[in-house]
Each structure stands twice: as C-alpha cells, then as structure tokens.
Symmetry: C2
C-alpha cells in the first residue's frame, strides 16, 4: 500500500491547521441554524420537536457526563441503538471528546456483536432499553467486562429488565452536568466513528472513519445529491449501518430539518409514510427493501401525496426499474440510485445525468440509465482493474474489478492485517469485489460480483450474463452457472439446467443457445441436467454449495 510521495510548493497563508471535525460541524450549525427543527419519535411512538441549538446543549451535557465517567481521547464507546434522538446526540457527543463511537449492528448474532466490541476495544456502551435484552446476550460472550452500560429509556430505569452490571441511565448522564465548554481541539485524522462490515464470509471487519473523512463525505453527499437548507431529511436507514450513509452529517452541514423515526418494523410503514407527509420530508435514504412497502403504502392511500421534489437515495442493492417508475409516476418522488459500501463512507457514485446528455435520449433510455450506479463523485479515484490488476479504459465495454481510493475510502481494516492483505492493491485502492464498467459519459455500471465471475485463462466470463441468456430460453426452467477449477485454464464454466416439462437440453443445445452472445472460448464444456438448483434462505442460487458439489467436474480434463 503506497501512494506517490507528496511535493510541497509555496506554503499557503491559510488556516490549514484548522481541524475538520464533527464538533466544528455541529457547533457552527447550532450557531447559524439554531432554530432549525429536529423531529423525533420516542419509545412509546410519540413525536417531539427540538432544535439544533437545544440539541447542541444536550450534546455538550452528554459529553460532560461521559467525561466525568472517564471517557476521553482514544476511547471507544459502543452504540446499540435505533434511530432516535439519543443516538443522534451520541453521534456528536462521543467524537467531541476525542473518543470514537463504534456502531453495533443489532442484526448480528450476539457472538458477532461481542466480537466487534472486543475487536474495537469498546469500554462503554449506550443501549436502547428495547435492546437491553440483546445486550445481556452479548455480555455472555464477552471475555472483558464493559466498564459501564448507559441505558436510554423513556421510562423508569428501575422498571426495566436488565441483566447487565454497572448500569446507568443515559438521561441522568446527559443532564447531570452543564454543557461542556472546553471541548478539546481534536485532530481531524482521529476516528470519530466506526462501523464493521457484515461480510457473508469471514468475521466483521472494522472501518474507522476520521473526522476529516466524515466532513468531506458530508460535503460530497450534499453537493452530489443536492441537499440544502430547505430540505427535510428523514434518517430512515439504520444509523448503525455506514453511519446512516453519512446523512446525519450532511443534513447538519446544510442546516436541513431532521426527522428521526425511532424504532419501527416494516409493519409500521403507514406510520413512516404519515410522518413523511406531515413533515414534508424531501430526502431519505432507503434500500429497496423499505421502498417496496413504502410504494405499496402510497398505493393504499385514498389521497396520494404529491412528493415532487422528494428524493429517495437508494443503495445497498440495485433498485428495480419498476420500483423507481412506480414511485415517480404515483407521487412525483425521485429514486436516486447511489453506490458505495461500509468501506467508502459510503458515497462513491450518484445517478444523475448532465442535461446535455439527457437531451440525446428518449424516455426509455433515460429510465434504463437510472439503473446504472451513476457518476463517481469528485474526490473518489476509480480504477477498473483487469485480472492482473492493470487499469482498463473507461469505454463502457471493458469490465474489471471496481477499485476505489480517496479521502473517504478506507486504506485498511482496523487491526486486521490478514483482511488487509487481499482487500487493498499496491496503489492503496480498496478492492470492492464488484465487477463493472465506466462509460464515456462517466457512468459506472456494476455488472457482477467478482465471486460470480469465472476466471478462465486470465480472462473473465460472466456467470450472471450466461444465466440471464439461458433463462430466456423456453426449454430452460431454472439455470445456474458456476466456475469450476480446471487444471489448465484455472476455471471453466459449468452449466446446470432444470429443463421445462418435456423439453430436452444437451451440452450442444446449450452451447448453441449461447453462441450468439459469447465467444467460442467462453462456451461451457459441460452441462449438467438436474432436477433442482439449490438456493439459499433468501432465494439466491447457492453457488458455494454448487462449487463444492462440482469441484472435481473438470479434474479429468
């Protein structure tokens, strides 16, 4: 991991040692946008309104309380919380002390949460009352005792069922002291927050965001999505997931109104939609998993709300075109496809289009373009790498691994040299594992996951493309394509087909069907006719099991 040595020119006269911190961010926002509202939902489902100015006082009172308990520079404080106002206060209070807030993903198994706590060196944890039971389970897996647990509750702490030691009420800590005045001048390269990946393989890996990266990412998000003073931002995706995609910081930076929905389930979508309408929400991050029920709820309403000007930022997985169109046609709200990961803060690219480029397209083309990951934002270096790691041209055709580098892209995992070895290339780029292209208009398109790519003789074959081509044939009921180890070519494609009733499928008919879209050398040597394709609990083809089952298929080649 190296970057080119820096060259120093004439020193500037500017305030280059002024630190870009989340403390500077909130204190300035509280000064300039003091009366701006933060609307939040409590543990009983009731809504309340506070302001930036009042929240800044609460943040500094919480900081004073935490400092009294010994939290200071270099410490790590865990958060096991829903998207409520206490979580929001913690976002700024912990880093203000020079400490790092470590997000604990409440969807993980207790033993994995315990791993994250120990790997990150967490000494104090703030927990929502409703998660105290989970915290108790986590505690069973910890080898080191947590110094203090702070419970956020809207009720009497003594009424709560808690199986933890050294328990304090968050609110008493947050109200015991006057607002801290002498906040430390924290170096911008200190970690303000941390999130761990939830990789399907291996253990969670830590990404420690700096104050600097958080500041710069907030600007990138605001500039590229176009968030401003007149917006109302609802923090809809979990605040423990990539810091709610950086939106809490971007919203504060521009002085937007903020809506915190607290704890909710998918069954409570009507409540979310009502809150959106009542607060005139204009920006919300949303994965397809939540956008689908939201669209459904819009369709149920007697009076469809007019949401023109509203932007749902959609990431995590590619939003289906039908979803984007459905929301647009019904409400006028735009679904903006964006791309990123825990490792990238997350914003790498945002789907927008230059007016001059849009003018050359018809409506269908413009809709199709919306499925692309969009244009990489200024600040992030993008490399499309071939199997040897060489950069490929941005021509819309050359597909390679998407590798990323920049001020808000991680350079390593936290104290995990083993994970680092395979995840970063020599130039310091993070290897995303996604395969894609960049076209002449700057659009990034993810075409595959690297693990679904078959590496044959130093070249690539897309298993997904091959599956899609075969799935369109009338004789094919279900299909899977996997790469199987081959003594000469490294890997070769193996096709598994479930024929439709009465149809006949052979290696020859399959090769024939593929010959129009694939080169000769890419065509599969073997085709297996099977009764069923194994799938995972979420309905994806279980490629890992297939690769294991057919590991020896080409050993005799």
């Amino acid at each position: 991991m190296t970057t080119a040595q820096t060259v120093f020119g004439t020193p500037s006269t500017m305030g280059d040692d002024e630190q870009l911190t989340t403390t500077r961010l909130f204190s300035h926002a509280a000064r300039s946008f003091g009366s701006q509202q933060i609307v939040h939902r409590d543990q009983d489902g009731d809504w309340h309104t506070t302001t930036y100015a009042e929240t800044w006082r609460r943040i500094r009172r919480l900081a004073a309380g935490l400092r009294e308990y010994g939290v200071g520079p270099g410490d790590r404080v865990g958060l096991l919380m829903w998207n409520d106002v206490r979580h929001f206060e913690s976002y700024f209070a912990i880093p203000a002390l020079g400490a790092t807030m470590v997000q604990l993903n409440l969807r993980l198994a207790p033993k994995d949460i315990a791993y994250v706590i120990e790997q990150a060196g967490v000494t104090h944890i703030i927990v929502d009352e409703s998660l105290a039971s989970l915290a108790g389970d986590v505690d069973q897996h910890l080898n080191t005792r947590i110094q203090r647990w702070f419970i956020g509750t809207d009720h009497r702490l003594s009424d709560a069922q808690i199986r933890l030691h050294n328990v304090h009420s968050y609110d008493s800590v947050a109200t015991h002291n006057q607002p801290l005045e002498d906040l430390p001048n924290v170096d911008e390269r200190s970690a303000s927050g941390a999130c761990f990946t939830t990789g399907t393989t291996g253990r969670p890996k830590g990404v420690f965001y700096s104050h600097r990266s958080t500041w710069l990412h907030a600007d990138a998000l605001a500039v590229n999505v176009g968030i401003g003073l007149h917006d109302t931002v609802m923090l809809l995706t979990p605040m423990f997931h990539v810091q709610c995609w950086g939106l809490p910081y971007a919203a504060v930076k521009v002085g937007a109104k903020i809506v915190l929905p607290g704890r909710f389930t998918m069954q409570q979508t009507p409540m979310l939609v009502e809150a959106m309408t009542e607060n005139a929400v204009t920006v919300a991050p949303a994965a397809p998993a939540i956008l689908n029920p939201i669209l459904h709820q819009f369709q149920q309403l007697e009076q469809t709300p007019d949401l023109s000007g509203t932007r749902f930022i959609c990431g995590a997985s590619e939003p289906p075109l039908s979803l984007m169109r459905g929301i647009w046609e019904l409400t006028g709200a735009e679904v903006i496809h964006a791309y990123g990961a825990t490792e990238t803060s997350p914003i790498v690219s945002v789907n927008r289009v230059l007016p001059a480029v849009a003018a050359t397209m018809d409506e269908e083309q413009r809709w199709r373009l919306r499925r692309s990951q969009g244009m990489p934002v200024v600040g992030v270096d993008v490399k499309i790498a071939d199997p040897m790691g060489q950069a490929l041209p941005f021509d819309g055709a050359s597909a390679g691994e998407i590798r990323l580098r920049g001020p808000w892209v991680t350079r390593s995992y936290f104290e995990d040299p083993e994970a680092d070895e395979s995840a970063f290339d020599e130039e310091g780029y993070w290897c995303s594992g996604d395969v894609g292209t960049v076209d002449e208009n700057g659009f990034l398109k993810v075409t595959d996951r690297l693990k679904d790519i078959i590496k044959s003789g130093g070249e690539w074959i897309s298993s997904i493309d091959m599956e899609n081509t075969l799935a369109g044939r009338s004789e094919v009921g279900d299909v899977a394509v996997v790469g199987v180890s081959h003594p000469k070519w490294g890997e070769r494609p193996l096709v598994l087909v479930v024929p439709t009733m009465g149809a006949e499928v052979t290696a020859e008919t399959v090769r024939q069907a593929l010959s129009e879209d694939f080169a000769d050398w890419q065509l599969p040597d073997k085709v297996e006719v099977v009764d069923e394709i194994p799938r995972t609990s979420v309905g994806k083809i279980n490629k890992r099991s297939l690769r294991e089952t057919y590991a020896e298929a080409y050993q005799d080649a």
Copy 2:
C-alpha cells in the same frame, strides 16, 4: 497567533493522506462530467464551446509546456488576464505543477502591479494580448527581469505591439506537448493561487490560498448557495478578484456548465444579458456595480426573460433593496447577498433563511432581512469582538469587530509581518475591520467600518448611526460625524452640519435631536456649522480629510 493544541484520538483507517488538490478536482470532474460544456468568448467577441474533457487535455498540455520552461513546485506564475478560457486553463495547469498562480489585478497602477510581482516572487507571467501594453508599463517598474512572458492571443503574435523581452505565445506553449501524465502529488497545504488586497491604505497584501482551502471553500460555496450539475455558472466578476469568489472551483466540483464572457466593458451589458439568456445562466457572481446595468438592460428588452431559479450572488458591497426587488419582480431572479473578503476566499456568510423563520415574517420583513449579510457558513468561526478584543454575545444588539477564522480564512499575509501585527488577534482570528452583530437566528449584520467608529472611553459610538439620525431632520441639509482625538476619552464625536436654507442648528438642537437614540455620554460635545461637507471622487464623505482638519478640536478639553 495560537490555536489550542490538537488532541489525537484513535487513528482512523481512512485515506486521510489523500490530498485535496485542484488537480484531483479537475481530473475527477473531467472523468465524470467529461461532456459538460464550457462556453467562452474570444478576443474578437466570438463564442466557442469546449468540454471538461477537452479542457483537461488542454490544461495538461499547458502544464507540460510550462514544465518544459522550468516551471515547477514552489514557483509563482503571474496572470494578467480577462475572464477567458486561457485564464481558466491556467487556474488548473499552474497549481497542477506544484506552482502558485498569482493574480495580477489589472485595475491597479503599474507600479502597484510591479510591487505585487516582486513581493510574490513571480518569475513567469501570462498576459492577454490586450493587456500587453499595461504589462510593458509594469515592466518599467520591475527591478528583476521576468524570465518569460506568455502572450495569450487569437491573432498572430508577430502582429502584436509588445514592449517585452522573452515573449512566447501561450498557445504554442499550450499545444507543443502531449498532455502531461505524471502530475506530481502536491501537498494540499501548498499554495495553489494568490490574490493581493487592494486596501485603500497601505500596499497590497498577499493572501496565498492552499489547495486544501480552495477545495473546502468550493464545497462551502456549492452547499450554501446550492449549486449543482444542472446549473450554468457565468464567471462574471473578475477572475483576478478573490479567484472569481471561488466559483470556478465550485462549478467544476459539481459539474456545472461554465460560461466565460472574456473581456467586456459596462457598455457591453446587452451582450452579457444576451449570453445569459442564450446559455440559460442560473448562477453568476455580481457586484451591485454590474447588477445595476443588468437590471437596466432587462428593463430595455421587449421580451423580459423569465429567470426564475437564477441566482446572482452579490457581494463586494451591500446590494440596495431596490435593486434586489427590481430584478426579482421583473425576471424572477434572486439576488443573494453574501459576505467575505480576499482574506476569506471569500465566503463567510450567505443570505438565506430557514423556512420556519421565514414563516414568522411578512413580506416586508423578509425583504429587509435580505439586506443582512446572512448566516455564516459552517466552517467559519465568527467572533464579535469588543474594543478590548473580548467576544460579545450573539444577541442581535451587541456590536463589535467581526473577526474570522477557519480552513479558508488566512492566518497571515504573505511575507509581511508588519501587516500581520495589526490584522490578527491572539487566537488567530483575522480582524476584518467591519463592525457588526449576529442575532439569535444566526444572521450577521455589518453596521459599520471600524474606521468609522468612534472609540470613546473604551466604548464605541457609531458615526454612521449618528449621521443617519441627523440626516432625517428637516433642518439638516448635509451632515458628517467623525471621531476626533480627545486627551481624556481617547476619541469624542464631532458633528459637522450644513443647515437647510434658513434653518438654525446649534450644539444644543443637535444633542436634543440625538438624545432619543443615543446615551448621554455618546452625545457630541461640539457641533460645527459648515457650508459644505468634503466628499471623495466617488461621493463618499472624506472622513480622512475631516479628521485632519479637526484634529485639534478637543485638545483644549
């Protein structure tokens, strides 16, 4: 000049050593927004269109040419240019080499330009052909010979009248080489550009902007004015004046279309207005001096253009309400009042209002609010300092000197310790010389220039307020108030009045007239009835001459 020592917490894992440079800015913009247009007017008044991608190639070809002539890290290259495409290319080519571009204000006297050149250590200069004659005059005042002059011309260089040595054609330098590929990785604290103040007193003082401050300022401008991909930005104010208020960088950062009007005079306002309409310009920086003729031109047009959504960013001096309303009512374009200086890159505050605050006001109140300097942007520390340098509260009433600090505020003047001594306070704040207040809603209001404030017994008296009160009286034809040295109180106010025909004015009537708005101790001890108030060539009261004339007025006190 000190700031609190920084505290380092847990190191982040982020790419914190990725440099924020104008080179990263343009190269990424050229990648993602390659086909975005740059429309520019040449020396013959003809319009041309190029793109970000093509301009990036031109920038790197110019960089290659300059490097061949020995320009490298730490060098300073002067620019004596109008707002044309060569100037725009130079903005990025010079810093890409690790050198600093030094803006030469073509409105200064030749000897002052020569001073700037020598003070900044400029070795190479790029000059528009139309300014070659001025360059010849400047050259007469130089003690050191400039190594090379590069002339930007749309004609044959041999036809030009040039009294300079070592002259080269800009275009031949910019086209002789292939685009430079191995651009240095310049440290973000290096100076990318420099501008000198044109203080009415003393010699020009150098402000050297860093790559970092330029990057951060571009974000602040884009976020707080709300500039995006769909905007068209016309660079209307001089690019030699505070780097066109940072708009070239902000525009590139968001991928906006850019319009460069080249050289023009006020008589060519019809051409400017036509270009605005044709290119559908949505953002332009503009001082009242250019906005007035623009409004006049709008009024002349048979078909008034619909400019709803257009924003004129107005600074340099306070835009009259009539001008802001006139443009709004005629065209729907908004005039946004902003505040800053050469020392602050310049954005300190932007006039916007939270929807909730606007809702509490009637139309007249909202218009009056537009005269304020607006809300300070996140990133800039603001202090309202009393005469002893102590911070005053943000209560809308306590007036003090506006002092500023932040990542894009200067910490010193370039190699000018004498100027530094009076311009920065112990906490590193730049002392603006403006007096103002900040109110509970975060609005900054400039009320006075410090030199127009009378310091009496450690307290302040506003000469402008006193003049305004007296100017409203029927018996007062003209009036001036100045601070005059006083052996006991430091300074005391002296009032000069030209009575209206037949009216009688005495010290007693003046004190009586002021007694409602001013405290007893603030009332003037002396009132002089005069025939005429001396004024400067631009119609301002000549306070310097008055202070000299009446220097001894209180010596007998």
